[in-house]
Amino acid sequence: MSIVDNVLSQQFQALVLKELLEVWRDRRALMIALGFTLLFPAIMIGSGALSFKVVSETNLNIAIVGSDYAPLLENQLHGTGFRIDLLREGIPRELLEDKYDAVLQIGKEFETDYRNLLSPKVYLYVDGSSKSGGRGIQLIQERLGTLQKTIMQQRLSARGIAPQVLTPWQLQIRDVSTPSSRGLAILGIMVPVLLIMALMVCSAAPSIDTSAGERERMSIETLLQQPLNGWQIIVAKVLAVTSIGWFGSLLSLAVLTLSFTLLPLAEIGVQFSAGIAELVAMSFLLLPLALLVAVLQILLALRSQSFKDAQIQLSILQGLPVALLMIVNLSDIKLDSPAWQLTPLIGQQQWLSLLMAGEAIPVPLALAGSLVTLSLVGLCILVGARALSRESLLGAT
């Protein structure tokens, strides 16, 4: 019988059906898949949106000590974003500990010095280790800076000087980025890693169950006693696990896509530009990787004596590819060479990044890279088939 016949055979179909039924009825695996794919992006996006909201909508508590000496400054700080208390006196350090994000201290000599153009000092106390402190500095500097510029201009004007005198040149910035390429910096790194993580997390439970689990329950013995080829068994298991892993990553993609429409991306000048075509392409590019992840996890779990053992081993190895991607992304390692796109994981990550940014991918390279991944899958299946004939696979007698 040729491989094709084998694949099409009723036997094999029954085998795949059995594995699919097992995997999709595994409530635990489904919970993990749904939990990860729904909760993780939700938490990420939620916290992102929340921090955005916090930054844009929460009021900073500002205390101005000695505001009587310079009401103009206080006036300038009024407005959205600040809740201002005016204090006659107070110790900045204590005020910061109390409830204030920033304390502006104006001395009583301020007015005299200001009128005499003596450039009095104003003190801004913040707690640099707190998030709001840093924002406080920035916002207060911004607002006071505007006032300072106005006063500066008035002073120059009073002396008959044109503002342009203080502007020897104008720097015009021309940013060649596009909204989608700016999105690439944010979405292009985060999303592929998240999708690959989803693949691995969602595949893990079913791969363990279908290999180490079957081993632990000793049903594998029964399975091996059937007139089936080893590779058929592995392929069926890989397909079943892939179905759930792929599903998980597609669900993640859907959830993320949906979430992006809820984020105020435009306010940071970022565009989420992946359309339906890009999303479909992403789905298909993920498939070979899903197969590879599934077969590797099954091989690994098959080695473990027990379910628990497999869980520990997999969870340790789970973080590795993600860590690798992060390191590659954060470091200055250049992955421009096309050879990198032939490397599983890195290739997929690059294509997903491009597609996420709504850009075109190098189709021949993507096809070649996917083929490399698929070949690896094939190799692993052969290895797995051999592993099934190992005697140590059976429980001790």
Binding site: Q11, A14, L21, T397
Partner: protein, 250 residues
Amino acid sequence: MIRVNSVSKQFSGTPVLKNLNFSIADGQITALLGANGAGKTTCLRIITGLLKADSGHAYVGGLEVSKYPKEIRRQLGVVGDREGLYERLTVAEYLSFFASAQGLAGDKLEFALQSVREELELSSLWNRRTKGFSQGERMKVSLARALVHRPSHLILDEPTRGLDVLAARLLRRTLLNLRSEGTAILFSSHIMAEVVELSDTVLIMANGTIVDSGTPGELNTRSGSNSLEDSFVKLAYGQRAGKRQQGEVA
């Protein structure tokens, strides 16, 4: 017919089977009686092809197991020392899968399923997932799985373990039916009463080898005991005195 010919097997240097020889005739029930660790399961696994003998050969229906693994599996029905159930599948799905794996399809598949359903009284369990089944129910399903493709050889590893009365009776009845249909049945056990009641031939196994064989009566006679249990103890443990030669069943 099953034949085991000079089979030896070691696990990491420890000999488990030592030059094992016996054969099982069609239409007979043969019991493999032995203490825990005697090598019963290993012996059965070599016959089913899960393990490979270090030396010697096993034959099922005249085919050498290691040479024709797939063919002999079509002729074998096996109930292992665990039931090998898939708890997330219903009985129907479970049996259907194994029947298909054995190459049954279409009407033949339906017929095979109907047969075991009636034979093993599975109607009430048919569409239930096997999770939470009692030991007896599990055994019934497992037996049904082993029989669904109507194998000419049936191997059972400690089949009565944990069974309630009714289930044990059903098992016995089924085995006797199969025997009358000409199936060669080999089961391992250490429960004397069951062996006495069911088996045509008993193989007594100790330390990786068959120390004696014959009908229970013959064994009792040979060991000068009144019960199979006494015979077994004498044959299996008394053997160290070197009284007996290796058993062989013609």
